[in-house]
Amino acid sequence: MAGAKPSGGETVLEVRDLRLELSAKDGARLPVLEDVSLKVGRGEIVGIVGESGCGKSVLSLSVLGLLPSSIRVAGGGIYNGERKELHRLGEKSLQRIRGKEIAMIFQDPMTSLNPGMTVGKQVAEAIRLHTGASKREAEEKTVGLFRKVGLPRPESLYREYPHRLSGGMRQRVMIAMAVSCQPDLLIADEPTTALDVTIQAQILKLMKKLREEDGTSILLISHDLGLISGVCDRIAVMYAGRIVEEGAAAEVLRQPAHPYTAGLLASLALPSKKGTRLHSIPGSVPALRERGPGCAFASRCPYAADRCLAEKPALRGVAGSAFPRSAACHLLGEEGGLANVGS
């Protein structure tokens, strides 16, 4: 597990009490994200873990204002390092930030690259979008970036079309594009889900290198706990549109405070569990319309009490941790509550 401490220092992104609502076809306003708060410091790698549908992708899209028109910010705010209100910015201002201060890479490198342009030209175009660089300067910079992200034969690769590259190489091209203007924050939404495990490790190594060399902060979004544990300083666990647990990666993963996190960890298929029955969390994530007044996880939680069905738990500090840590569970009431959930 990554052992770096959460860095003190400046914040690169702050999400505060964010609430996103979806306008459904029948006019209903359904909450997609509720009370989501998150901070990413300079040089920090923060991971967001959660199942499909928990809202992690929507969260990342909302930072850059890339939400579909059906989803609106209904409360709270998103702020960059300079305390600018990102959720209020118009399209033109957002365009200046996208790729320059905050960059994003998406899940499938196969489709995220323009099939009609050479990979070199695409990256060069991205560079010229934000700087006044000439074609020649952008080309040189691109070749340098390709080398930096570990792509072989950068000069000849420049002229290749995406379909000639392997998945891992394409994702490296995306990363090159993303860091071309040295953003403060890189948001990576499931960057390795479409890739082989071996390539996964290489991409992770590349991300760590970017953090070491350029101080780039990374917001890593994934459903894969193994991936997250390999590289993140801090983790936020999301469930049904809320953050249910948050803290230093090492602590959260060693001793989860929330039953959902514990369930996720128990469900990991580890070599040590060979021969035993795989654990799984019974039930499934409640649909957007079915979220009742209580904790969204209550229906699947082995420790659920009456209170859990009636009242939504707020994020509360977890006692006894070396670094700031919180979880949203009624079990935490008295004294940390860690002893109540197993690992």
Partner: protein, 267 residues
């Protein structure tokens, strides 16, 4: 194999005509408008390879210069149609909603006119000339280009790479013209090749009716008209422009088929 034949033959025919046109810019056996009444309506011979018309003008020279008109009208009208269609189609496809509705209804209205009638209308309102012909045919082509561009843009707009590049700060104009356009280029080119042959046909029809290129400048359509009276006396007169029109239309149609097939194979 069959696909290759379309492209090859089409390319061959079109190149032949193109070369003919280039040559005619610098050299024709005779002055195309020079009349030699003594030699009128003579058949193909060593001095006049394709014979002469009713004014004794050399048919080969006139046909060669006619190639210039054909290519000029074809290229210019396709350019106008493509430019207009690009503007209309990309706006409709990208902006969507009411812009789409408005623009597409307008192009539907234009499409409702039979092509030749529309060209006739536009040309006869002003004094007929080459420019009028080109404009009229160009306007005629805008709807078909607009449709092709619109469907291409609609499709690409939702693609992942568009979302990714917007995430890097690309503005809408950049997305439309730098990112999306190269991906719909091949369908535009196919439409262009097809329109080229239509342009040649319509120009010939207009000139035949006396509304296109004005005498004494040679145009295949006008030559066809002039040759009508002498069909029995001098059948070779009709042959020259007729065969050339056929070859050009066939050539461009095959070429457009070939391009479309090549694109499908790659995609």
């Amino acid at each position: 194999m069959r696909r290759r034949i379309h492209m090859t033959v089409g390319l061959l025919l079109v190149s032949m005509l193109f070369v003919l046109m280039l040559v005619s810019l610098f050299y024709t056996p005779y002055e195309p408008n020079a009349m030699r009444i003594a030699d009128r309506l003579s058949g193909p011979s060593a001095s006049h390879w394709l014979g002469t018309d009713n004014f004794g003008r050399d048919l080969l020279s006139r046909s060669m210069v006619g190639t210039q008109t054909a290519f000029l009208v074809g290229a210019a009208s396709v350019a106008i149609g493509a430019a207009g269609g690009l503007l209309v189609g990309s706006l409709a496809g990208y902006a969507g909603k009411w812009a789409d509705e408005l623009l597409m209804r307008a192009t539907d209205a234009l499409l409702a006119f039979p092509g030749i009638l529309l060209a006739l209308l536009l040309v006869s309102v002003f004094r007929p000339s080459l420019l009028q012909t080109i404009l009229a045919i160009g306007i005629l082509f805008v709807p078909s280009f607009a449709r092709v561009v619109r469907s291409g843009v609609l499709q690409q707009r939702e693609a992942d790479y568009v979302r990714a590049v917007r995430g890097f700060g690309a503005g809408h104009v950049n997305v439309l013209f730098v990112q999306i356009l190269p991906n719909i280029a091949s369908s535009i080119i196919t439409t262009a090749a097809l329109s080229f042959s239509t342009a040649i046909l319509i120009e010939a029809a207009l000139s035949y009716l006396g509304l296109g290129v004005q005498p004494p400048d040679p145009s295949w359509g006008r030559m066809l008209n002039e040759s009508q009276t002498y069909l029995s006396a001098a059948p070779w007169f009709t042959l020259a422009p007729g065969v050339l029109i056929t070859i050009s239309v066939l050539g461009f149609n095959l070429l457009s088929d070939g391009i479309r097939d090549a694109r499908d194979v790659r995609a």
